[in-house]
């Protein structure tokens, strides 16, 4: 009897160990689908999202939903890329979903998506926090939380969240990318370079890390290295729009017009950029050809021929860059009236925009642009002190990167501030400003004329725009893409 009891105990123990080993070693079920192929497609969708390959991500998610129409997570991610009417179907489907059959993460995603869809943003945020309270190490939802902070301009929260995400999942690439951009925006270029290097190291087969690193190198004057990074990004993904735009910018900043022209043509030919983006690139090259030739009437002509858009925003120009150079060309050619008109029009547009989307969602970028235009006008009107004040205000608003301003545009503004300070007789302040500029990008300052501060001899300014914003031409939007 005792022997039998012993054998039974041994059997029970072995069975318990076997069960424990099985459950401990088997992969965790996080996505609920009846189709293994659908799961594979969905994983590919997520991978492409992390690489910023939007089109591919959408295709994979769509295939996943085709393979398993009840695949809730795939539906949620697909909905991001669908027009409102199609999205409604998915929302209805999500409302009907039996949540009990889903994993905790999926249950959260459904509730969160519905809350967002129904405009219950604070509630959605609370859901996020509650889920993370219970599952602090779920990298997928942590990532969503970080992006939520990011998209809502809660930078400190976003930074802390991405730090936590890296701690939880050190190979989560977007955390490195966005933390890199934040460091870059603050002027912490070494840290940004480390983060982009890490990003590039983890995902060398993706185009975006090279593009991000290229942006930093371009901002800091390492144009050749930047060009190499953009070329590498385009080797990986020939239609990668940001890399084409940045390749053109780099060529312009380094004064290589033939390359810029060629890159602009290829952008139009090969890139997956939307038409507005392509026009921005064409506009930049057209402006800079004239700027480098010191032909300000030509600049006016180029702006009018290549940079106009029927939208009416930004004075009817395709980008902030076009607006700035339209005003600058008007002032340089003595057309103060046009210079003033553009300022007034921009101010009115800003007020209209604020009324339309609300001050909270508008950001400071437009105010910076307006301040810069005002500074330029004041300088043109012979009011250097007012110009200094306006350029300084713009400098405060602009970061070296971010939705509030473009890094190269901040540099351009600094050159103008230095010119205004010199014009105002404050040579020491002008020298300090130039030292600051030198510290960021020594090559940018070197191309600026040191003595003649007339508008006709302004330094070769960067095209500035086109940092991958899907929201507005003057806004960088999501980092890199």
């Amino acid at each position: 009897m005792k022997r039998i009891a012993l054998a039974l105990v041994a059997l029970l123990v072995v069975a318990a160990i076997g069960a424990a080993a099985y459950i401990l070693t088997r992969p965790e079920r996080v996505w609920t689908t009846s189709s293994e192929q659908a799961r594979v497609e969905f994983e590919a969708c997520l991978d492409n999202i992390s690489r910023y390959y939007t089109r591919d991500a959408r295709e994979h998610c769509a295939r996943a939903v085709e393979l398993d129409p009840d695949f809730v997570a795939a539906q949620i991610y697909l909905a991001r890329y669908l027009p409102p009417e199609q999205r409604k179907e998915i929302v209805e489907s999500l409302r009907r979903t039996d949540l009990d059959r889903l994993s905790p993460r999926e249950r959260f995603l459904v509730r969160f998506a519905l809350a967002r869809e129904e405009g219950r943003h604070p509630e959605a945020r609370e859901m996020l926090d509650a889920y993370l309270e219970e599952h602090p190490d779920d990298p997928h939802v942590l990532h969503i939380s970080c992006r939520d902070h990011w998209d809502s301009d809660r930078w400190r929260e976003a930074e802390a969240c991405f730090d936590r995400l890296i701690e939880t999942d050190p190979n989560r690439v977007e955390a490195h990318n966005l933390l890199g951009y934040m460091a870059m925006g603050r002027g912490w270029f070494d840290q940004a370079e480390d983060l982009f290097a890490t990003y590039r190291y983890i995902a060398p087969d993706q185009a975006n890390p090279h593009d991000s690193m290229g942006e930093l190198l371009m901002l800091t004057g390492r144009y050749e290295e930047a060009a190499a990074e953009f070329d590498r990004a385009l080797e990986i993904r020939a239609d990668f729009c940001p890399a084409w735009q940045h390749r053109v910018e780099t060529a312009l900043l380094s004064g290589d017009l033939p390359t810029a022209r060629e890159a602009a043509e290829l952008t139009a030919e090969r890139s997956a950029c939307r038409p507005a983006k392509i026009q921005q690139t064409v506009c930049s090259v057209a402006i800079w050809e004239q700027v480098l030739a010191d032909d300000w009437p030509g600049v006016r002509k180029a702006v009018e021929e290549s940079c106009r858009t029927p939208s009416g925003d930004l004075g009817g120009y395709v980008s902030g860059e076009a607006l700035v150079f339209a005003q600058r060309a008007a002032l340089a050619t003595g057309d103060l009236t046009e210079g003033r008109r553009l300022v007034e029009e921009s101010r009115a547009f800003g007020e209209e925009l604020e009324g339309r989307i609300g001050a909270d969602h508008m950001g400071d970028g437009f105010q910076g642009l307006l301040a810069h235009l005002e500074g330029a006008l004041a300088l043109g009107e012979g009011k250097p002190r007012a110009a200094v004040e306006a350029f300084a205000r713009a400098d405060e608003i602009f970061a070296y990167w971010g939705q509030d301003g473009l890094g190269t545009f901040k540099l351009f503004n600094l050159v103008n501030l230095a010119a205004a300070q010199e014009a105002a007789g404050d040579s020491a302040a002008a020298a300090a400003t130039l030292r600051t500029l030198d510290g960021v990008n020594p090559r940018f300052a070197r191309v600026a004329p040191g003595t003649d501060w007339s508008l006709g001899t302004l330094p070769r300014t960067p095209p500035g725009t086109g940092r991958g914003s899907d929201r507005a031409p003057f806004s960088l939007g999501p980092a890199g893409r």
Binding site: L12, A16, I17, A20, R29, N171, A197, Y201, I202
Partner: protein, 863 residues
């Protein structure tokens, strides 16, 4: 019972061998060549991935990795720990180019490193492996030495699980397929290690639970142990089930759910409490020191482990202190080992002694060799000698020659360390043996043996059984032992084959094992039954006590209190001691016997003197009758007796009563010496007392027969002769009950045997009486000779009896004056019988009665 004892250890050994194979697999796997980058990391801080140095010519060196660089990523993944780095490298092959991300403090850079060959197992793992294997060997050694002992079986399980934990759980992850198997096994070991610890503490150094006396208590113990062992897996299963149902991932701390770590903590706590309680029950300071050492080792090993390796990871979500938690855990086996070696809590000293001896010798040799090489280089630097390849070789040869003398030199201190207790025991046993020799008193021997031996040898008890006939009777020892035991010869034979002393376990070994009680006959079965009976009451060893003359008894010994087995050396010492005990016991028994004999002899002397005092010195029976008597016992005291009784009442021819005449009764009781004397005394007393009221011989005999018969058949019977001269008539009344017929010696020298009565059975032989007296007329000058059968049954050395004929011839041949004088006649016949026996001790008592009628009866009133 013995069957179970043999099977369970085999089962455990099979488990141990399987575990050992797994551990071996883990070790082999770790020491197989695997991809290596050539980077040596800083070791001061766990999981610091800062490069301390780069192996020259390695892939890292070629790639430009520099000391001070911090490895941020390997193979396109960010790394945070050395284990993670090992994982990533383990996935690649030798010769692969792997991308590294390095941070030199100013910037990060990417390099491509070609992986070379390297074995993953390092010095730390070698240490853990050696420790684990050592414990397995120690556990196996203990189990094989005492497979029947519960503590040794549990200790083996503890050692095996410890080996699995050290080798399988603490191994650096190689992330091969072996990892899953080995790490799961290590986790399983970790699951059961606390249970086995608790189990061990419940029975070590003494069982804390009450002894198994009934079926019910056995069941309860089984239920308790099953619960102890099943709780951890059930908690694990519960945790898995709970998380499985909720669909949430099961959080693990160091490979196991947090709940299991809390169970482990609880078990450890309970184990420590059990050990603390247990250590208070031990008697000797030595055991107490050992138990306390194990207690503190467990405490200081387990508490940091539970705090740093369990509580911190769970509460603080960091495993940064894991290393510092696991490190003190090695205190547990180390203190166990020290306690075992130093305080002899387990019988593993031989193994460890040899290991230590050769390790020390090798260490000294290595040090001497290194010193020699260094000195040689220093002395001869710059000369050709310094560069010679022969110098180290010659030094090595010298060192080889040094090895054996050095080993002998080290042997002494090592022996003193390991055998200090044994030397003390040896001296104590010698002293005890001398005490036995000096005071060979049975009581002292028994008391010293039973009281002192347990104290000296650390036994629970000892007992002594002495041979009494065909049984062994307990002379001393605890009352729980049987009072008496059978003494099967097979046991004696088996013990003789093992130098007189053996462990029960060995004697009960199966037939095919040497030393066991082989064979299936009844004698062997009896012996096995006896041993199993002794085993049930806690006896572990038995020894025979035998002097050169005979087997004296059996010494039974309990188990040792420290859960250890008897060492062969101890058994040898004990055998020597028991030899001295046997001699002392034999001497004591002989002295006791001699004393008893002397006392008996003295008592016999007294009895003989009493007997002699009972014999009538000068007998007068009736006027005109001359009487002579002789009564000589064959030993100190005899069975023959002679008593003067009041004679029968009679009347003369003239009608006058006879004067007060007497009668003479001579008897011979069956049995000799003391027993015969006692019956004789009884018969004497019966006849004397009855004759006071019953003077008639026939009535006297009837009554005496009845009384003697009542004494019982075994008490013997009395052959009696009764002679009573009648003064008035001149007749002789005689009655015979088992005695030969008296002789009538006429005055002319002729002889005749008096007629025998029809019924002449000895008195007491049968319940019925019926003895009849006869009368014979005796003429003046005639003589009647009555005698006991000791006369005619006297034997010569050739076996010939003296006989009636020879008696009659002797009487006839006597000179007339001798023949006619009763006293001379009696003396002459006695002399003839003694001469016939030629100095040989007479076999039977001898009684002679001679009655001579000297004259006619006087007339009435003559007195």
């Amino acid at each position: 019972m013995s069957k179970r004892r043999i099977e369970l250890p085999r089962l455990l050994l099979a488990f141990g061998i399987l575990a050992f194979v797994l551990a071996g697999l883990s070790i082999v796997d770790l020491f197989l060549p695997r991809p290596y980058d050539g980077v040596v990391l800083e070791t001061d801080t766990p999981n610091d991935l800062t490069v301390r140095e780069v192996v020259s010519g390695s892939g890292a060196a070629r790639a430009g990795v520099r000391p001070g660089d911090r490895i941020v990523g390997i193979d396109r993944a960010i790394v945070r720990s050395t284990a993670q780095a090992a994982t990533l490298l383990g996935r690649r092959s030798i010769g692969d180019e792997v991308a590294y991300l390095l941070d030199d403090g100013e910037s990060r850079r990417e390099v491509s490193v070609e992986l070379g060959r390297r074995q993953l197992g390092g010095l730390t793992y070698v240490f853990a492996g050696l420790l684990g294997v050592s414990f397995f060997l120690v556990g196996s050694f203990v189990l094989l030495r005492a497979p029947g002992r519960r503590a040794s079986r549990v200790f083996f399980v503890v050692c095996t699980l410890f080996m699995l934990f050290l080798i399988c759980r603490l191994r650096p992850a190689s992330y091969s397929w072996v990892d899953t198997l080995v790490l799961s096994t290590g986790t399983g070991a970790l699951l059961f290690l606390p249970a086995s610890f608790l189990h061990f503490f419940l029975i070590f150094p003494r069982p804390i639970l009450p002894p198994l006396r009934s079926h019910g208590s056995r069941q309860s113990r089984w239920a308790l142990l099953a619960t102890i062992y099943l709780v951890p897996p059930l908690v694990l299963a519960g945790a898995i089930f709970r998380h499985h149902r909720s669909g949430e991932p099961l959080p693990l701390v160091s490979g196991a759910p947090a709940a299991n770590w809390w169970v482990l903590a609880l078990y450890m706590l309970l184990g420590l409490v059990a050990l603390a309680a247990n250590s208070r029950t031990v008697v000797t300071p030595r055991e107490r020191r050992g138990a306390l050492l194990v207690f503190f080792g467990s405490l200081f090993g387990l508490v940091p482990f539970l705090v740093l390796a369990v509580a911190f990871p769970e509460r603080l979500h960091t495993e940064a202190f894991l290393y510092f938690g696991v490190l003190p855990l090695t205190l547990v086996p180390l203190t166990f080992a020290y306690a075992i070696v130093r305080f002899q809590l387990m019988d593993v000293r031989v193994l460890l002694q040899k290991s230590l001896l050769y390790t020390l010798t090798t260490a000294v040799i290595t040090a001497v060799y290194a010193l020699g090489i260094a000195s040689f280089d220093g002395l001869f630097r710059g000369t050709r000698l310094a560069g010679s390849a022969y110098s180290p070789l010659l030094l090595a040869l010298a060192i080889v020659l040094l090895f054996e003398p050095l080993r002998q030199r080290i042997q002494g201190p090592v022996d003193r360390f390991f055998h200090a207790e044994r030397y003390r025991l040896q001296q104590a046993l010698v002293d005890l043996g001398e005490a036995f020799a000096a005071h060979p008193d049975l009581g002292t021997v028994v008391r010293e043996l039973v009281d002192e031996l347990p104290r000296l040898m650390g036994l629970d008890f000892a007992a002594l059984y002495l041979v009494r006939g065909d049984r062994l009777e307990r002379a001393a020892g605890p009352a729980t032992l049987p009072i008496a035991l059978a003494d099967p010869p097979a046991l004696g034979r088996a013990l003789e084959l093992q130098s007189g002393i053996a462990r029960l376990e060995r004697l009960l070994a199966p037939d095919d094992e040497p030393g066991g009680l082989g064979g299936g006959d009844a004698d062997v079965r009896d012996a096995r039954e006896l041993l199993e009976r002794l085993a049930e009451v806690g006896v572990e060893g038995i020894a025979t006590l035998a002097s050169p003359r005979r087997r004296l008894g059996l010494v039974v010994l309990s188990a040792k209190t420290g859960q250890v087995s008897f060492e062969p050396e101890e058994l040898e010492l004990l055998a020597g001691l028991l030899h001295q005990v046997a001699i002392a016991l034999e001497t004591s028994l002989l002295l006791e016997e001699r004393t008893r004999q002397a006392e008996l002899e003295r008592e016999l002397e007294i009895a003989a003197s009493i007997q002699r005092s009972l014999l009538p010195r000068a007998v007068e029976l009736a006027p005109g009758w001359e009487v002579a008597v002789e009564c000589r016992p064959a030993r100190h005291v005899g069975g023959d007796f002679l008593v003067r009784l009041p004679g029968p009442e009679s009347h003369g021819p003239d009608g006058h009563d006879d004067p007060d005449t007497g009668a003479l009764a001579y008897g011979d009781v069956s049995g000799k010496s003391v027993s015969g004397a006692l019956v004789m005394m009884a018969a004497y007393e019966i006849l004397s007392s009855l004759a006071m009221t019953a003077r008639d011989p026939e009535r006297l005999m009837t009554l005496a027969n009845r009384r003697l018969h009542r004494l019982g058949e075994r008490r013997g019977f009395v052959a009696l002769g009764y002679l009573a001269p009648l003064a008035c008539s001149g007749e002789l009344v005689y009655l015979l009950a088992g005695q030969p017929a008296p002789l009538l010696v006429h005055a002319d020298g002729s002889l005749e045997e008096l007629p025998l009565p029809d019924h002449r059975l000895p008195l007491g032989a049968m319940g019925m009486g019926g003895h009849r007296s006869l009368r014979v007329t005796v003429e003046p000058g005639d003589l009647v000779l009555g005698y006991s059968d000791g006369l005619i049954e006297a034997q010569r050395s050739d076996g010939e009896f003296f006989g009636t004929e020879r008696l009659m011839d002797t009487v006839r041949d006597l000179p007339e004056d001798v023949r006619r004088c009763p006293r001379e006649l009696v003396r002459a016949i006695r002399g003839a019988v003694e001469r016939f026996g030629a100095g040989r001790d007479p076999y039977d008592d001898l009684t002679l009665v001679a009655l001579k009628k000297t004259e006619n009866p006087p007339r009435s009133g003559a007195y």
